[in-house]
């Protein structure tokens, strides 16, 4: 009985994550498409960065996202390693292109969830254009040890390939910033808030029809 109720609990959570990922992909695709239509000088840097990065790390196809994030496909396990372009950033760091990798394994207890975000931009160095980046990971608790709480840390390797020009001497285990997340869904929302801020992430989240129970732990941020 205990296992069945735990499984049902994660089943709903897993479905919610799949739904959010697909909604976010639609939103992001639409935002990028609109941005790429813009001829204003304000977006020149973002567009140059997008052109550079998409020519070597093209964004994952939406249909592939739908296939991977299929809540009815069986085991509650999804991995996205192809570049998932998050929506364009809308702040002073908007020249960075945020790319997400996901590993979400809810087949066993405790669940193992990690969202890794790489922030990439490019710059001109004489006749060479170079990329540079920085990464963060957002994870649920790892047992009861040192990182036994939902947290975020810096990482130089959010993807398989290390980020360019990311200083490797920086600590990657500390700071291990605590997050007000209680599950995979609220962790995902924390990730969105950290990148898009309260207002913009509020807009994104409100479009997604997420059950209130997943927003309970972060309600104090959104209100």
């Amino acid at each position: 009985m205990r296992c069945k109720s735990l499984t049902n609990k994660h089943e709903e959570e897993y479905k919610a994550i799949c739904h959010i990922i697909k909604e976010l992909d639609d939103y992001s695709t639409s935002k990028w498409s609109k941005l790429l239509e813009n001829n204003s000088a304000e977006y020149e840097d973002v567009i140059v960065n997008h052109k550079f990065i998409s020519s070597v790390c093209p964004p994952i196809h939406s249909k592939k996202v739908n296939e991977i994030a299929n809540e009815y496909s069986g085991p509650q396990y999804l991995v996205v390693t192809d570049p998932f372009y998050l929506p364009p950033l809308d702040n002073d760091d908007s020249n960075f292109l945020p790319i997400l990798n996901i590993s979400c394994d809810m087949r066993n207890e405790p669940v193992d969830v990690s969202y890794r975000v790489g922030l990439l931009e490019t710059y001109s160095d004489g006749k060479i254009r170079k990329a540079r980046g920085f990464g963060f990971r957002f994870e649920l608790r790892h047992g009861d040890g040192r990182h036994g709480y939902p947290h975020s840390q810096i990482t130089v390797s959010p993807f398989a390939r290390p980020l360019p020009e990311c200083p490797t001497w920086i600590p990657q285990h500390i700071p291990c910033l605590p997050l007000p997340a209680t599950c995979a869904v609220s962790l995902f929302l924390c990730m969105l808030i950290s990148l898009y801020g309260k207002k913009e992430s509020g807009k994104i989240i409100s479009k997604m029809e997420i059950h209130e129970r997943y927003k309970r732990s972060i309600k104090f941020i959104l209100t």
Binding site: T29, W32, S33, L36, E37, N38, N39, S40, A41, I47, H50, K51, F52, S54, S55, V56, C57, P58, P59, H61, S62, K63, K64, E67, S124, D125, K127, I128, R129, K130, A131, R132, R161, P164, E165
Partner: protein, 399 residues
């Protein structure tokens, strides 16, 4: 003896003018014999095609009465046909449908179907790059464009949209396409063309033309059941007609829906822009870049094609230019930009879609097409041609 190109407008003066002008152009007459189709002959031909259509629909045996259009390399047909025989309502598009489905004409060229409102409305550049894939014409142009050398030949100057195939190429490869379809009539189209499983991830905008699951739909089923082949009432046609329809329509799908996006297949100039290490020679020499714009043998494009040979679309006759599978290229660590993605030489040239050539960046204007693709931004010449109507103009507004 050169193959015949038949020209028809419902105004016989215009027909004569067009065919006479074509006959005088060296780059046309070296390969083709342009001729006028008179009004009477046109009416009889259309009656003939309508009769064929009727016999097929009723499943009746009949003896085919051959027409000049059946033996023509190409038919140039104006869209507005008001002065033809009383009682028959036809547009150029209907003629194109009848000619494609019930004749053996190789190429159908539609004139003035999609034109602008200005004085240059029959010399348009489609900024969306989406063109008109659903039209049964193999190519749609304005009457001012009929005599553009870039439509007939590689040696051109000035305005020449990159999305144009050349008419000789369309004519010369039609039979090959038909042979390929005949061999693979009941095979999935995408498999026959060499697409891998990645096709199932392509957007609906790409696959909807095929009418069904892109990994399963065959050439035959596409023609009979997709809605973009034959009309349902006409599905009782012989197999050789199905083959010709498939060859023409799938060729158009590839050329206008697949290739122009440049994110499924990519052609040489766009490839060189994204992966400049593949360009052979001095990257500061614009002539080296412009070799990649030729519509010839892929080995003559000044691209290091050996490194990327396994990713090339091998059935090159299906497209008017060499092309490679983009997704496969982005995984090939033999390409410098893929193995070392985080730095590259800045290039100061851009490929201009309206002149089919590279220019230095300062002479180019960037804008956004209508593709749902990460590579929707393209370039045109900064100083627009005064004699060309760029449509829709809103795409050139800087906010």
């Amino acid at each position: 003896m050169n193959e015949e190109i038949l020209v028809f407008d419902d105004d016989s003066n215009i027909t004569e003018r067009w065919s006479e002008t074509l006959r005088e152009l060296s780059f046309v007459k070296k390969d083709f014999e342009p001729s006028s189709l008179g009004l009477d002959e046109f009416n009889k031909t259309m009656e003939n095609f309508l009769t064929r259509q009727s016999h097929y629909r009723k499943n009746e045996e009949f003896v085919l009465d051959e027409t000049r259009v059946d033996n023509a390399a190409a038919l140039l047909i104006d869209f507005n046909l008001l002065n033809i025989e009383k009682g028959i309502t036809l547009t150029g598009e209907t003629v194109a449908y009848l000619s494609r489905c019930f004749s053996t004409c190789k190429v159908i060229i539609g004139i003035n179907q999609f034109i602008g409102a200005s004085a240059n409305g029959t010399n348009t550049f489609d900024l969306t790059l989406q063109r008109h894939p659903y039209s049964f014409c193999d190519i749609n142009i304005g009457d001012q464009q009929i005599f553009n050398r870039g439509l007939w030949d590689e040696e051109f100057e000035g305005f020449r949209p990159w999305y144009w195939p050349t008419i000789p190429h369309l004519v010369n490869t039609f039979n090959q396409k038909c042979e390929d379809v005949a061999k693979n009539l009941d095979e999935p189209i995408t498999k026959a063309l060499g697409f891998n499983e990645a096709i199932k991830y392509f957007p609906d905008s790409v696959n909807k033309f095929l009418g069904s699951d892109p990994t399963e739909i065959t050439f035959r089923n596409f023609v009979l059941n997709s809605g973009n082949g034959i009309n349902r009432q006409d599905d009782n046609i012989p197999e050789e007609n199905i083959i010709r329809i498939a060859a023409s329509r799938i060729s158009k799908w590839l050329e206008y829906i697949i290739l122009q996006r440049q994110d499924i297949l990519v052609d040489a100039p766009h490839l060189a822009t994204r992966l400049p290490s593949l360009l052979v020679g001095d990257k500061t020499d614009i002539d080296n870049w412009n070799y990649s714009t030729r519509l010839e043998d892929y080995r003559e494009l000044n691209i290091n094609t050996e490194v990327i040979e396994e990713h090339r679309l091998k059935k090159e006759f299906w497209l008017s230019r060499a092309a490679w599978y983009w997704e496969e290229l982005t995984k090939d660590e033999n390409i410098l930009e893929i193995s070392n993605p985080w730095e590259r030489e800045e290039i100061d040239v851009c490929f201009c879609e309206d002149i089919s050539k590279f220019l230095t960046r300062e002479n180019c204007k960037e804008y956004s097409t209508d593709f749902d693709s990460p590579y929707k931004r393209r370039y045109i010449k900064k100083d627009l041609f005064e004699s060309v109507e760029y449509r829709p103009r809103v795409k050139l507004i800087s906010i």
